[in-house]
């Protein structure tokens, strides 16, 4: 019952105010393309030094969770992920907005984010110490296979366009190799320029590949940006809730996946949402609807990426190992405050930890009304702003966002060049998602592979390293299943014949 006392601590007016303020600020920053959750947390860390540790953690957690959620606005309304975590939200969110269901999509994203956030926070509250061991069980071979599993999603994401999807992913993998290799320190593909020495930043690639083509198309076509609904009023909350209720299995599965992937240091929201999306698609009765504005796609991505917030805090607080990049900043902030993170934290400083966990839970719940209001406002502004205003504003944000990554103009240049390449590739039928997926997963795959090989080689057992570990084999099995699912389903004559043949045919056609 002692724990409930901490709930009261979290409910002080100051902490509630910080939670609301954090969520609002985070949502706004996350909604702006290019300003990521990591940046939101980094900018606001200095302001927390004057607070007591629990309040500081609450405000940082609220900003973090708000920013991950806010990323969905830009994804749905402008087809540009506001943060890397919302890449997969563009798949179905934008098509929904395009056909006039923008309000519904935003409301659904809010509902899903709150569900995911609550599930993640509950796991953090109830099961943090045992779950932290999950992070430790993941060694280099598991990361390698996880990345390979992620790459197999391309086959799922690019139905009807498999070859182009694979070419795009290869391009992304090549981009991932630019710069100084973490393992080995070799310098690759920099063309002797110092601009490329630091590698291609995922955020600047994201802004370039998604935003610039959208901007060019906005200018090049006379149509209005989004189709406006007949009647403007209402949040379509009832409709969203009933869709979410029907997709409850999907929402819970995605939230659990998001929590687990959040626990893995180095994975994070972008991978979690992609994995959840592909699982939702695989288990759906209508996989062919995914990518064309399927509400379940939004439920999967938005619940999983917000679940990574709670999940990421698990290794951060229990082991002192940051689960996601924003966690690394929060960990540093706690160190400055003189708090020893790690195994002793729960026993010695329980009041801080539990007050924070309840605070995060409360902030997540508060995200519901706050999100509905802000989302409505974001939607209204996007549809009422004339295109002549929208384009320069978004263009300005792309420059600001890519500059803000490292306070460096080099990233702006990379963003712009990739943007033009992305636009040309778009015209030729290549989607940006496989490229970004290759870029995100390439580094994880490469590091995992080389580390596994080095360790295996030292112990004279390279094959055992890759194929002799149970957890690895589970991931390999999942990857194989995802890759060949359409064929397997066909052979077994599973229930939904129509959609399966459609998928298989689409693939054979390529």
């Amino acid at each position: 019952m002692e724990v409930l006392g901490y709930l009261i601590d979290a409910l002080t007016p100051l902490n509630l105010l910080l939670a609301v303020g954090g969520v609002v600020l985070g949502t706004v920053i996350g909604a702006l393309p290019g300003l990521s959750a990591t940046m939101a947390v980094a900018v606001l860390v200095p302001f927390t030094f004057a607070m007591n540790p629990a309040s500081a953690l609450i405000v940082l957690g609220a900003i973090y969770t708000g920013a991950i959620y806010g990323g969905s606005y830009a994804a749905i309304l402008v087809n540009t992920p506001g943060t890397p975590s919302s890449i997969a939200t563009t798949f179905d969110g934008y098509p929904m907005a395009k056909r006039g269901d923008g309000t519904l999509a935003v409301t659904l994203a809010t509902v899903s984010s709150v569900i995911g956030g609550i599930v993640g926070a509950l796991f953090l509250l109830l099961l943090a110490p045992p779950l932290a061991n999950f992070a430790l069980a993941f060694g280099p071979p598991e990361y390698f296979w996880l990345a390979v599993f992620g790459l197999t999603l391309i086959s799922a994401l690019s139905v009807g366009n498999l070859l182009k999807g694979l070419i795009g992913a290869c391009f992304g993998l090549l981009l991932a190799m630019v710069g100084v290799a973490v393992v080995g320190g070799d310098i690759r593909f920099t063309m002797d320029s110092q601009i490329l020495l630091g590698g291609i930043n995922v955020v600047s690639a994201l802004i370039g590949l998604y935003c610039i083509p959208v901007l060019i198309d906005l200018v090049a076509t006379p149509d209005p940006h989004l189709k406006v609904e007949q009647e403007l009023g209402g949040y379509r909350l009832k409709e969203a809730l009933s869709i979410a209720w029907r997709g409850k299995v999907n929402a819970i599965r995605s939230s659990v996946l998001g929590t687990l992937i959040g626990i893995l240091p180095g994975a994070g929201g972008s991978i979690a949402s992609l994995v959840a999306y592909s699982e939702a698609r695989r288990s759906s009765a209508h996989p062919e609807r995914f990518g064309t504005g399927e509400p379940n796609g939004i439920i999967a991505t938005e619940s999983s990426n917000n679940a990574t917030v709670g999940g990421g805090f698990i290794p951060t607080l229990v082991l002192g190992i940051p689960g996601t990049p924003p966690d690394a900043i929060i960990l540093g902030a706690l160190l400055v405050q003189g708090i020893k993170i790690g195994p002793s934290l729960f026993t010695e400083q329980g009041s801080i930890v539990y007050t924070f966990m309840f605070g995060l839970l409360i902030a997540t719940v508060l995200m519901f009304p706050v999100g509905l209001l802000l989302g409505r406002y974001a939607y209204k502004s996007i549809i009422t702003i004339p295109k002549a205003m929208l384009v320069p504003v978004v263009a300005f944000m792309t420059v600001i966002g890519s500059f803000a990554i490292h306070n460096n103009l080099d990233d702006v240049l990379v963003m712009f060049v990739l943007g033009v390449i992305g636009w040309v590739l778009n015209r030729l039928g290549f989607q940006p998602s496989p490229i970004v997926l290759g870029l995100v997963l390439g580094q994880i795959a490469e590091q995992g592979f080389v580390q596994s090989y080095l360790i295996g080689n030292a112990q004279g057992n390279v094959l055992g390293m890759f194929f002799g570990r149970p957890l690895s084999l589970v991931i390999v099995a999942l990857a194989v299943l995802t890759l060949f699912y359409p064929l397997i389903a066909k052979r077994w004559g599973v229930k939904k014949p129509s959609s399966v043949t459609a998928t298989a045919e689409a693939r054979n056609a390529d």
Partner: protein
């Protein structure tokens, strides 16, 4: 209010900078960190910040320009204005090894370091339940099984990597170094028993608590909060040092301002509360002021260049 503040500044600066530099700093100073927030460089800077403000009465504004392991910021340092209002965190061995290996846009001798104020010693970690109780256990095992002992560490050609190479040489063993993308993942590998041991920084021991055992540390003397851990030196291995962090300024910065900055940093280093905070976080304070910089850099350059040549890093 303003008046008292101004008076405080005057008194504070005059106390150590001498009459010539009584006015520095007159306004906020930008402190650029060449790495992402959350790392050791950031934490150390954040700890310095309030003391800088207490001593000078002017804010210290921390900014980040991460990229290419710090090279992106360091290559731009000399193009910034040398008026004392832009200072940058610099790191060893990074600023010596990077230009040795490739053209990173700056040369080691181009950078003006005014003070190195702390280092994080390299240390060998094993999981708490490991069979290796002492460093000798590990060495005995490594001698019987050449190459079998794997060390996780932060990055290739880093201080950790250099320490592992030097350890191999001094102990007469052959071990395998596995680079990870930072301190966090490298320690995760130790805790998860993916590797035999970790060659990491002492700061990691603070977070990992009693889940790991530190077998030896490359500080000069035993660290105050890890008094059970022997130093390499007392075990007979000449391995002292680690990743040094200091302050650099643009080349155009006048001599008196360089000295003033160095003096402020030294003064921060003497504050008992700061010393306690730094030691609790696993840092080892050192004080290499501007006046001793040349000798220190010459010694470090010779040391790192020698290892870099043996490791085949020095390609230029």
């Amino acid at each position: 209010m303003l008046k008292t503040l101004a008076a405080a500044v005057l008194v504070a600066t005059a106390a150590f900078a001498g009459p010539a530099m009584a006015e520095y700093p007159e306004r906020p100073v930008n402190y650029i960190i060449a790495f992402n927030p959350g790392g050791e460089s950031d934490v150390a800077a954040r700890l310095q910040q309030p003391y800088w403000e207490k001593i000078t009465g002017k804010p210290l504004v921390i900014q980040y320009q991460a990229g290419a392991g710090g090279a992106q910021a360091w290559s731009k340092l000399n193009s910034m204005e040398g008026d004392g209002y832009t200072i940058m965190g610099t790191n060893l061995p990074h600023t010596i090894l990077q230009p040795l290996e490739k053209d990173v846009g700056y040369e080691t001798d181009d950078l003006v370091h005014v003070n190195f104020f702390h280092y994080t010693p390299d240390a060998i970690f094993v999981p708490a339940d490991s069979q290796f109780k002492t460093l000798q256990d590990l060495i005995d095992y490594a001698k019987k099984n050449p190459g079998m002992v794997t060390f996780s560490g932060s990055g290739s050609n880093s201080s950790n990597h250099l320490a592992q190479q030097r350890f191999d040489e001094l102990a007469g063993v052959k071990t395998t170094y596995i680079p990870f993308s930072g301190t966090g993942p490298a320690m995760t590998a130790v805790l998860g028993k993916q590797v035999t041991a970790g060659f990491n920084y002492s700061t990691s021991a603070v977070n990992a608590g009693d889940k790991v055992r530190m077998l030896a540390v490359s500080s000069d003397e035993r660290m105050s909060n890890f008094s059970d851990t022997p130093t390499f030196k007392e075990l007979g291995f000449d391995l002292v040092g680690g990743a040094y962090r200091g302050i650099g300024v643009p080349k155009s910065t006048p001599e008196d301002i360089r000295k003033a900055i160095s003096d402020i940093v030294t003064k921060i280093n003497q504050d008992p509360k700061f010393i306690k905070q730094m030691e609790d976080a696993g840092f080892v304070l050192t004080d290499i002021p501007y006046s001793e910089m040349k000798a220190f850099m010459d010694e470090r350059k010779a040391f790192y260049t020698d290892i870099a040549k043996k490791m085949g890093i020095a390609k230029r």
